[in-house]
Amino acid sequence: MKPQPIALKVLNVFSVLLFLAAFGMVFLYAPLEETMNYVQKIFYFHVANAWVGMLGFIAAAVAGVVYLVKHDQKWDIIELAAVEISLIFFITTIITGSIWARPVWNTWWTWDTRLTTATILEMIYIAYLLLRQGIEDPDRRARFGAVYTIIGAISVPITFLSIRIVSRTIHPVVIGATNGTATGSFNMAPPMLFTMFFALFTFSAIFVTLFWHRIRLGQLAQQVEQLKLEEMQ
C-alpha cells in the first residue's frame, strides 16, 4: 500500500485547521442575527454540508458515466466513494436542518421541497448500496452501479422540480435576501456572507480530503481481493 502522498498529508492538516478556523469564525466573527440568535449559526454548517453533498452527487453521476464509457475499475471506486461521502454529508445536512427548524418553525420536520428531495436522494443512495451488496461479480456490480447512479441522478432534479411545482416552500430563501417574508429568512450582512463562503470553502476542502481517503481505501480493498485470489490459486 502506497503511503499517503505529501499532498494528502498536507490536506489532512489543512482541513483540520480550516475547520477550526471556520468554527471560530462562526462563533466569534459572524454577528448575531436578531431574531434567531445562536440558532442561526448552525445555518453556516447546514448550507456547507448541503453544498458538499451536492458535489458528491455530481461526482458520482459523472464517475458513473465515465465508467460506462471507459470500463476502468478506477471510476467505479470513485463512484462508490462519492456516493458514501455524499450520503453522510446529506445526513448531517438534514440533521442540522432539523436542529435549526425546531426553535424557528416549532417543528422537527417539514415536507418542503429541499428537505424532501434530500431525503429521497438518501433513499436512492441506500438503494444503490443495497444493489451493490447483492452482486458478486465486480464487473456487473460496477456496471449496475453506474447505471443506477445515472438513473438516480436524472430523477433527483425532476423530483425537486415536481415538489416545487406542487408546494410553496417554507424553506427560507437566504441568498437574494430582499424577500424576508418566509419565516426564518434573514438579510445577510457582509460578515455573514463572508463566513458562509469560508464555511463552504472549508467543507469543500474536507470533502476532497475524505474523498481522497475513501478512494485510497477502495484501492486497498481491491488489492486485498487480488491477494486473496492469488492465495487461493
Binding site: 429521497i120 438503494a127 443495497l130 447483492g134 456487473r140 449496475f144 438513473i151 411545482i165
Partner: protein, 236 residues
Amino acid sequence: MNNIQEIAEHKPTPGFFGAVGAIIWKDLAAELRSRELLSAMLVFALLVVLIFNFALELDAGTRRVATPGILWATFAFAGTLGLNRSMAVEKDRGCLDGLLLAPVDRSAIYFGKTISNLAFMLIVEAVVLPIYSVLYNTNLFNPGLIVVILLGSVGYVAVGTLLSSMAVQTRTRDVLLPILLFPVVIPILIAAVKASSGFLQGLGLTDVMPYINLLIVYDVIFIAVAYMVFDFVVEE
C-alpha cells in the same frame, strides 16, 4: 436434407419491429395461458384497496380527496409484482440468453418487454378502476383520468423494466426492485396524483397542464435514457 452452404449464404435478418412484436406476442400468449401474473397483480391490487379502506377509515368527503392517492399507491405496488414476474420468467429458464442470442438489437428486447409490461399494467388498472368506482360509489370514468393513468404507467414501466432487468440478476432479486424503483418514480406519483385529482375535481385544463407536462417530460427522458443504458445491463 438442404445443402447448408447454400442456405448459409442467404441469411435472413429479422426486422427490429418484427422482434419487438415477437416478444410482445410471446409474453401475451404465455400470460393468456397461465394467467399467473395477471391474477397475482389483480388480487394484490384489490387487497391493497381493501387495506386502505380499513386503514384509513374515510368518510365520503375525505375519500374523494384521497382516491387519487389510493389508486396510485395501489398501482405502484401491484406494478412491482408484474415487473418482477415478467423478468423472472426470462431469467429462470435461461431465456434471457435466448433473447440475447437472437440477431437483433438489444433495445428490441427492452422495448418488447416494456410494452408487454405496460399492457399488463393497463389491464390491471382497467379492472381496478371500475371495481373501485362501484365499491366507493365514485365515478372514475373520466377521460382526463385515463390519460393520466396512461402517461403515468408508461413512465413507471419504462424505468421499471430497466431496473427489474438489473434486480433479477442480483442475489436479493424481488426484494430489491421496489427499493430501487420507488425513489426514482416519485415524480410520476406526484404528477399523476395531482393531475388525477385535478381531473376528478373537474378543474380546468390549465390547472392540470403543468402536471401532464411533467409526466410527458419524465416519460420521454426516461425512455431515452433506459434505451441508451439497457445494453450495459444485459451484456456481459
